[in-house]
Symmetry: C2
Subunit: 192 residues, 2 copies
């Protein structure tokens, strides 16, 4: 089971993590998966639906995608059931390029987060492709990382700095992005 073939790279891979509660209600959120010497780890913030589901079901799925809209929707909305299909009985995103199902074990409890070591138990590749680097896509991801911090930061000056950096990324999307990246950025700026 070569999960590198399924798209997880050295360092941190930005994917959409799907989870489900014990009663089977799905959730999706953009999360980074850390690869270190062929071991995989994920840090989950306390209070999130993702961590609540992972503590219940001890599983998560990594959905590898380059769709900017999917990232922004998963970050700021509850995805409808139309987005999901089942892989080994577990909720995954229909449109993802690949799915990797992991078992999760908590290896460290921190003040604000839990660190899990995750072990792959099933992999499926849905679509392989070639795609050139698009700075618009990159800018949407960076803006989304910043935007998810917006409600956490406290001072006005920090909020201003963050807003001006998001505006800079919006300019890159405007110049370099395609329709999906532009739609994602509009959606993101509407949220904050």
């Amino acid at each position: 089971m070569d999960i590198k073939e399924a798209g997880l790279c050295e360092g941190i891979s930005e994917v959409i993590v799907t989870t489900q509660s014990a009663s089977g209600v799905p959730n999706a959120a953009p999360i980074g998966i850390l690869s270190r010497e062929d071991n995989y780890f994920v840090s989950l913030y306390r209070g999130s639906q993702t961590i609540s589901n992972v503590l219940e079901a001890k599983k998560l799925a990594a959905n590898v995608t380059e769709d900017a809209v999917l990232f922004v929707n998963a970050a700021f909305e509850i995805l409808s059931s139309d987005y999901y299909s089942l892989f080994h009985g577990f909720h995954v995103l229909k449109e993802a390029n690949s799915w990797i199902l992991f078992e999760c074990e908590c290896v460290e409890e921190r003040v604000e987060s839990f660190l899990f070591q995750i072990v792959p138990i099933a992999v499926e590749i849905n679509m392989m492709r070639v795609r050139a680097i698009n700075r618009g896509l990159n800018a949407v991801i960076e803006a989304a990382v910043l935007a998810t911090r917006y409600d956490i930061i406290e001072t006005e000056s920090e909020k201003e700095e963050l807003t001006s950096m998001i505006a800079r990324y919006a300019d890159i999307v405007d110049k370099c992005g395609g329709q999906r990246e532009k739609e994602a950025m509009r959606s993101l700026t509407d949220k904050i």
Copy 2:
């Protein structure tokens, strides 16, 4: 001939453009290719080896790759002949995921650049894959875009701002990148 299959996306695709002089000496440089309603354009700065070659040979090849080291080397070094192979008699980069050979017609002469409309005449896909988004890769590309401007900007305050932004991208590479991204970033910071 579906060049979207070969990885060129809506908006601007960041690729490595290879060209060759009339006598067949190759050159490589990271350049953005603009796609607008299935027409393709590239803006080339006066004084570059790329424009000199394109004016001579009326051709260029887009090499689609996600290799951070290749981007940085093509931006700041003259690539040795080992990097190249031939595609329809034209120099391309051996390691690229796909090649698209274009004919070039100058459609606008500007003060600092020429705008070319480019028409695909041959396409080859070498490797399809799935790859998760890596913020480290994105950060190398953004840092490289900034670094290539370093010698153009004139005031000390602009240079300082640019250096501090590159340092911010270096932090992202350090946190999120794999070995290739870290090697590329070290190489980039050595140049400036």
